[in-house]
């Protein structure tokens, strides 16, 4: 019935929505930032554990739609073990993929995150996918304030 939506709602997204990974409060987190999408009411808190400039652990709490939940869940998986610079580079690539500015995006470099490429066709939903990454960006820059995608 929802054939048109298969690019947007891939099985991986349903899976991460049903069973979000790293969905927990982190005691002794080095960084903790809140992300908020006022348009949708999506809200998340991102926790990072750092060792020098390496992200050794990432977790989150919050509530949002399937796209935003899957996006933050996937993100916490993929950034573990990455340096700040590597995470920033992923953010840039992810941003390019979801906003569709680059015609030929190397989806392979994005690994599992490529399942979110479909939001490009749904401008109203892009912010759902990027909220997690804007929050990570703020956490890496050590901006303590809550960030908002508006």
């Amino acid at each position: 019935m929802f054939e048109d939506l298969r690019d947007l709602y891939q099985e991986v997204i349903f899976d991460h929505n049903r069973n979000p990974r790293n969905f927990r409060v982190m005691e002794n987190a080095d960084r903790q930032v809140e992300g908020f999408n006022p348009l949708c009411g999506d809200r998340l808190t991102l926790f990072l554990k750092m060792d020098g400039d390496v992200i050794t652990d990432a977790s989150f709490q919050g509530s949002g739609c399937a796209i935003s939940t899957a996006s933050v869940s996937l993100m916490t998986e993929i950034v573990k073990g990455k340096t700040e610079a590597e995470a920033q580079e992923l953010f840039t690539k992810f941003h390019e993929m979801t906003t569709g500015k680059e015609e030929h995006i190397n989806l392979e470099a994005l690994g599992k995150l490529a399942v979110l490429a479909g939001v490009r066709e749904y401008p109203a939903r892009v912010k759902c996918a990027t909220l997690a990454w804007h929050t990570l960006d703020a956490a890496l820059k050590n901006e303590a304030n809550a960030i908002s995608t508006e």
Partner: protein, 407 residues
């Protein structure tokens, strides 16, 4: 129902034939804005093709034609809500500007530090923020009458909050987030017993029921044209003449003056005192066309039909496992706000859109209502006179299958 024929009505709305992603459009976002009948579209085309010029300014033929049509529309609005005089009908951009106008003119002159303004827990942001701004400017205090879990005003608490300090009551006639219709006659009588004027936010109520401002005895009634099958960018402040006469103007400029020198300005008479600058001429005239169209069908017929639709939708919705209706007031207009277990309203919105069904997902400009129910957002299907039971069936089938897909 005397001659109410939904199929005939549907023919009058060209957009209803539109295909969305290859599917028949099922438009259920009427509380956000509703679609326009051909008569409204035609009136705009007619004006710009044959009759358009600025109003109240020229002696030439077109200016006279435009002015006549413009003022005829004012009379139509007056009759539609049964105001006592054309002077009580002020055109603004919409309900939002209307409330801001009352806050910044009536409010600023009559409300002082320590005074109270009383609203309810179910207001749209546009009936909260202008009062907060006024409170900031004056030192007045905003009081909020609570509601119960069904989304009904707790009247006894409202009554207790009416105090000697209360200088204005501003209440939504029908809630956009819940559908609740407030007991406005009782509210007005109680406030008047203490000499307190009442503003009704009629943005949602006006397309769904007959409104008679004299019978209600409200002091101000505001609404937007775009929710009444008219154009966007036009709205109305109704105010009792005695109040409007005593209020200072809202904005300064052309049309609102009688005489200007560099020393002083004499303001124009009502309603022009509040209509500075060139108005939305075509939109006012088209709002008049919308009112003609509605009057021919009859607001009571519309209300009866929509109440049937709402009952049907409510029964069907309750049959869906995991669906919670948000807002179950006894007195309720044609709005069905709901949540689904573990499925976020935005996912509901996108999935239904792929089936051609337009609903609203979000906080409906009523964040305090969302907080009250402890949800970030709801999905909302809101009905208009052109919706059908078949469309409700399509909606419910869509909801059933998206629940299955989400698993």
């Amino acid at each position: 129902m005397s001659g109410f024929d939904v199929n005939k009505i549907r023919q009058d709305f060209p957009i209803l034939a539109e295909k969305i992603r290859g599917k028949d459009l099922v438009y259920l976002d009427n509380a956000a804005t509703c679609q326009k009948p051909q008569a409204v579209i035609d009136s705009i085309v007619q004006l710009y093709s044959h009759d358009y010029a600025n109003v109240h300014r020229g002696v030439h033929t077109l200016s006279v034609r435009s002015t006549d049509k413009f003022e005829a529309a004012r009379t139509k609005v007056k009759s539609f809500i049964n105001a006592a005089s054309d002077k009580e009908i002020i055109f603004v951009r919409g309900a939002t500007e209307a409330i801001n106008l009352v806050a910044q003119t009536y409010g600023k002159t009559n409300i002082k530090a320590g005074d109270e303004i009383l609203i309810t827990a179910m207001e749209h942001h546009s009936n909260i923020v202008p009062w907060q701004m006024l409170c900031e400017q004056t030192g007045a205090v905003l009081k909020v009458a609570p509601m119960n879990h069904k989304g009904e005003l707790i009247y006894s608490e409202f009554e207790q909050l009416l105090s000697d300090k209360t200088k204005l009551v501003s209440v939504v006639h029908m809630s956009n987030a819940l559908g609740t219709i407030n007991p406005v006659k009782k509210i007005i009588a109680a406030a008047h017993a203490k000499g307190i004027p009442v503003l009704l936010d009629g943005a949602q109520a006006i397309p769904h029921m007959a409104v008679d401002v004299q019978e209600l005895d409200c002091d101000f009634y505001v609404f937007s044209g775009h929710k009444l099958y008219g154009p966007s960018g036009i709205g109305v402040v109704y105010g009792k003449q005695s109040l409007l006469e005593a209020m200072p103007p809202y904005q300064g400029g052309g049309d609102m003056i009688r005489k200007v020198t560099f020393v002083e300005t004499e303001y124009n008479v009502l309603p022009y005192k509040f209509e500075a600058g060139t108005p939305a001429i075509a939109d006012v005239i088209a709002l008049g066309a919308a009112i003609d169209y509605l009057a021919a069908i009859g607001m009571n017929n519309i209300a009866a039909y929509e109440s049937e639709l709402l009952d049907y939708a409510t029964v069907k919705a309750k049959q869906i496992d995991g669906l919670t209706i948000i807002g179950e007031a006894e007195e309720k207009g044609a709005i069905l706000s709901f949540t689904l277990n573990k499925i976020h309203p935005h996912d509901i919105g996108t999935m239904l859109d792929s089936l051609g069904i337009a609903i609203r997902a979000g906080h409906h400009c009523a964040m305090p209502v969302m907080d009250f129910y402890g949800v970030p957002a709801t999905a909302r299907a809101s009905f208009a006179m052109y919706n059908t039971k078949q469309e409700i069936d399509v909606l419910m089938a869509g909801i059933q299958s998206l629940i299955e897909v989400f698993g």
